[in-house]
C-alpha cells in the first residue's frame, strides 16, 4: 500500500501491534538533558530497573548552563545539572557536560555528531526534538513518564497520528530564509493548525534548503502544534552526514544510503491534509504578538485587533498588543529593540552565525542595544572562531558567548528585564519566555543582525539603502540558501 514518509518510518519501528491498543514503537535514539530527566531516572531507581540501551542514549547539559565563563550560580540550575551527572554515571549513559568539546544544545549536538540519520525514531524530553525530522527521522518530544519508559524499554506505546503535507514551491527571494518560511507557515495555519499531525515539508523550495536550514524549519513544527516535522532525505542529507563521527562507513554506508533513498512518500500516497505556500512571494517575517502564529512580513504594520474576524483572535491580538506595548498601525520597521539574541536550537548553527556575521561586518551594534551571540554547541563555537566570526561580532560590539539554550528560555542568567524588547532568532515569543515581562519578536538571523545595527526591526536590505555596498549583502544569504 502507498505510504507517506512518516508512515514508512513508523511501520519500520513497530515492535508490537494489537487490536485496540497503541502500537509499541522502537526508539533508535534517546536524547536527554538536565531539566526533564531527573524524575525519570528516579522512577527507574524506585523500581530497580536499569537503562535498557545506554548505547542508544545520549545526554548533554544545555538548558541551565551559563554562557559566560564560570560555574553555575543559580542553586536550582546547579542541582539539575549535578543530578544529571550523577544519573548518567550511575546508569552508564554517555554525557557531554559543560566545557566538553561535544557539549551543546541537544538538538544541535545530535545532528552534528551524525547520530541523527534518516529513517530513525528519535525522542527527547523536549518539544523541539522535531528538529531531527530534517533528516527524514520521525522525531518528537515526550514527557517525563515517557522518558522513563524509553530508558527502561527503548520503546514507547504510541497512538497513530495524521499526516499533513506543507508544500512550499518556488524559489526563495534573496534575503529570505528558512526561518521566514516556517514563520509564514505558522502564521498561515495557526498555532493549533498542526495538532495531531506529523508535517512533511515538501516542494522545490524545501529541497533547495541546506540541512541546517531544514532543521530550522522542522524545529518550529511544534509551534504549529504538530507532533513532528519531516523532510525526505536526499543527496543534501547524505552529503551532510558523510564523514561525521557516528555516520556509517564502508559497506554500512552503502547499505544505509540504499535504505535512505527509499524513504520517500509514494507518488500515490494520500495525506490527511495539505497546505500550499508560494516561496517566491515570501519576504522577511517577524512576529508582533505573543504566540508564534502572530507574525507578519516586516514591511507590514502592527495589526488592529478590530480587523480580526474571529472573536477569540481579536481578544488574543488585543491582549498581545497590551503585553507587547504596541499600538495598531505602527510600522513594524519602527519598533525599537533593546536586545538582539542570535542562537538557540532554531538558529544557533554555523550557517546562522555566518549569515548574521556577514550582515554586521563593518557595522556597529546600535547605541543602547545589546547583541548576544550564543553558538548552539561547543563545536559551532570553535568553527565560528576558526572562521573569525567571533571577531566580527565583538568588533561590532556584540557579546560572543559560550554555547547553550541561553536567552531562548532564560533558565540561565541570560534574560530580558521587565519591559525589555528583543529581536530573537529563537522559537517562542510567549509572555515571559525570555524573562518576566520581556517582549520577544521572532526573526531570522539576517533580520536579527540588521536589527542590531539599526536598533529597529530591519532587514539587511535596509542597511543597503543606507549606503552599503551590494556585493557583501549577496553573500549574506548564501549560508542559508
Amino acid at each position: 500500500m502507498a505510504g507517506t514518509l512518516a508512515e514508512k518510518v513508523w511501520d519500520a519501528h513497530v515492535v508490537r501491534r494489537a487490536e485496540g491498543e497503541p502500537d509499541l514503537l522502537y526508539i533508535d535514539l534517546h536524547l536527554l538533558h538536565e531539566v526533564t530527566s531527573p524524575q525519570a531516572f528516579d522512577g527507574l531507581r524506585l523500581a530497580g530497573r536499569p537503562v535498557r540501551r545506554p548505547d542508544l542514549t545520549l545526554a548533554t547539559e544545555d538548558h541551565n548552563v551559563p554562557t559566560t565563563p564560570g560555574p553555575i550560580t543559580d542553586p536550582v540550575s546547579k542541582i539539575q545539572v549535578e543530578t544529571l551527572r550523577r544519573n548518567c554515571e550511575e546508569f552508564g549513559v554517555r554525557l557531554y557536560p559543560m566545557g566538553d568539546a561535544d557539549q551543546g544544545i541537544v538538538h544541535v549536538v545530535g545532528p552534528q555528531l551524525g547520530l541523527t540519520q534518516p529513517g530513525m525514531t528519535v525522542v527527547c524530553g523536549d518539544s523541539h526534538t522535531s528538529t531531527h525530522g530534517a533528516f527524514g527521522a520521525l522525531a518528537f518530544g515526550i514527557g517525563t513518564s515517557e522518558v522513563e519508559h524509553v530508558l527502561a524499554t527503548q520503546t514507547l506505546p504510541l497512538k497513530p497520528f495524521r499526516t499533513l503535507a506543507v508544500n512550499v514551491r518556488g524559489a526563495l527571494p534573496e534575503g529570505v530564509t528558512a526561518k521566514d518560511i516556517v514563520l509564514a507557515v505558522i502564521a498561515k495555519i495557526g498555532t493549533g493548525g498542526g495538532q495531531g499531525y506529523v508535517i512533511e515539508y515538501r516542494g522545490d523550495a524545501i529541497e533547495a534548503l541546506s540541512m541546517e536550514a531544514r532543521m530550522t524549519v522542522c524545529n518550529m513544527s511544534i509551534e504549529a502544534g504538530a507532533r513532528a516535522g519531516m523532510i525526505a532525505p536526499d543527496q543534501t542529507t547524505f552529503d551532510y552526514l558523510r564523514g561525521r563521527p557516528h555516520a556509517p562507513t564502508g559497506a554500512d554506508w552503502d547499505a544505509a544510503v540504499a535504505e535512505w533513498t527509499a524513504l520517500r512518500t509514494d507518488d500515490d500516497a494520500v495525506f490527511d491534509a495539505e497546505v500550499d505556500l508560494d516561496a517566491s512571494a515570501l519576504t522577511p517575517f517577524v512576529t508582533w504578538g505573543t504566540n508564534p502564529g502572530q507574525g507578519l512580513p516586516l514591511s507590514a504594520s502592527v495589526p488592529d485587533p478590530e480587523e480580526f474576524a474571529d472573536e477569540s483572535d481579536r481578544l488574543a491580538a488585543a491582549n498581545a498588543l497590551a503585553y507587547m506595548g504596541l499600538e495598531p498601525g505602527t510600522p513594524l520597521r519602527d519598533i525599537k529593540v533593546d536586545t538582539v539574541f542570535v542562537g538557540s536550537c532554531t538558529n544557533g548553527r554555523i550557517e546562522d552565525l555566518r549569515a548574521a556575521a556577514t550582515v554586521v561586518q563593518g557595522h556597529r551594534v546600535a547605541d543602547g542595544v545589546r547583541m548576544l551571540v550564543v553558538p548552539g554547541s561547543a563545536k559551532v563555537r570553535l568553527q565560528a572562531e576558526s572562521e573569525g566570526l567571533d571577531k566580527v561580532f565583538t568588533e561590532a560590539g556584540a557579546e560572543w558567548r559560550l554555547p547553550g539554550c541561553s536567552m531562548c528560555l532564560g533558565m540561565n542568567p541570560d534574560t530580558l528585564a521587565p519591559g525589555e524588547r528583543s529581536a530573537s532568532t529563537s522559537n517562542r515569543n510567549f509572555e515571559g519566555r525570555q524573562g518576566k515581562g520581556g517582549r520577544t519578536h521572532l526573526v531570522s538571523p539576517l533580520v536579527a543582525a540588521a536589527t542590531a545595527v539599526r536598533g529597529t526591526l530591519s532587514s539587511p536590505a535596509d542597511l543597503e539603502t543606507a549606503g552599503r555596498p551590494q556585493g557583501e549583502l549577496a553573500s549574506a544569504t548564501t549560508g542559508e540558501a
Binding site: 528516579d42 545506554p54 542508544l56 539539575q80 543530578t83 547520530l115 514527557g143 527502561a152 524499554t153 557516528h246
Partner: protein
C-alpha cells in the same frame, strides 16, 4: 507498581469540589529532581489553615481520600499523583475525576474510585462521626465499605486489570520484552550507537 486487590486504611473526608492540581501540589514544588518527598507540598496552601482536615492528627495515617466532584482538574502535572502517594494515599474517592489526573493516577498505581455523590455524602458523614475510622476499598468486588455503608464504585476494566496485576506502563511493555529483543536482533548494523565512534 504494587498489585492492588483490597486496601483498608483511614478515610479522610475532604469536603471540597474542583480540587485542582495547583491545590494538590503548587507550582513552586515542581523544581525538584526527585519523585519522592512531595508530601510536604500536598495541599500546601490549605494546610496553612489549622482547621484543614489533614492537620488533624487522627488523619496522619490517612490513605483513602474522600473528595467532592471534579477532583484533579487543571495542569497535567504528574506531581499531583506523586504528592498524594508520597503522603500515603492509595485511593481517592470522588463522584467525578479530571481525565488527565485519572490517567496519571492509573499509571502510578493510585486507585481513583468513582462513587455516586449520594454515597460520598454518606461516607463523609460516617467519617466525620467517627474520625480516624478505616474504610475498605475492594477492587475485586468494586465496592467501598465504610461502617455499615457498602457503596459500589466505577473504574474502567483496563485500569482495573492493570491495578490488580500491578502493571504500570513500563511493566506492561516489559511483558513483551521478547518482542523487543527480537526487534533489536533484526536492526540494521548501520544504525548508530552513542558510545565513542
Amino acid at each position: 507498581m504494587d498489585a492492588f486487590e483490597t486496601h483498608t486504611g483511614v478515610g479522610v473526608p475532604l469536603r471540597r469540589s474542583n480540587v485542582d492540581t495547583d491545590q494538590i501540589i503548587p507550582a513552586e514544588y515542581l523544581k525538584r529532581v526527585t519523585r519522592t518527598g512531595f508530601e510536604d507540598g500536598l495541599f500546601a496552601a490549605w494546610r496553612k489553615d489549622e482547621s484543614f482536615v489533614l492537620n488533624n492528627p487522627v488523619y496522619a495515617d490517612g490513605s483513602v481520600l474522600v473528595a467532592g466532584p471534579d477532583f484533579g482538574t487543571g495542569s497535567s502535572r504528574e506531581h499531583a499523583v506523586w504528592a498524594l502517594m508520597n503522603w500515603g494515599f492509595r485511593v481517592v474517592i470522588s463522584s467525578r475525576f479530571a481525565d488527565i489526573f485519572r490517567g496519571n493516577s492509573g499509571k502510578q498505581g493510585l486507585l481513583t474510585a468513582i462513587v455516586s455523590q449520594d454515597d460520598v455524602e454518606l461516607i463523609w458523614k460516617y467519617l466525620e462521626n467517627s474520625p480516624g475510622a478505616e474504610i475498605t476499598v475492594d477492587l475485586v468486588g468494586r465496592t467501598v465499605h465504610a461502617g455499615e455503608i457498602v457503596a459500589p464504585f466505577e473504574i474502567d476494566d483496563y485500569t482495573r486489570w492493570r491495578l490488580l496485576e500491578g502493571l504500570d506502563d513500563i511493566g506492561l511493555t516489559l511483558r513483551h520484552e521478547d518482542l523487543v529483543a527480537d526487534f533489536e536482533s533484526h536492526r540494521p548494523s548501520h544504525k548508530p550507537v552513542t558510545t565513542p565512534a
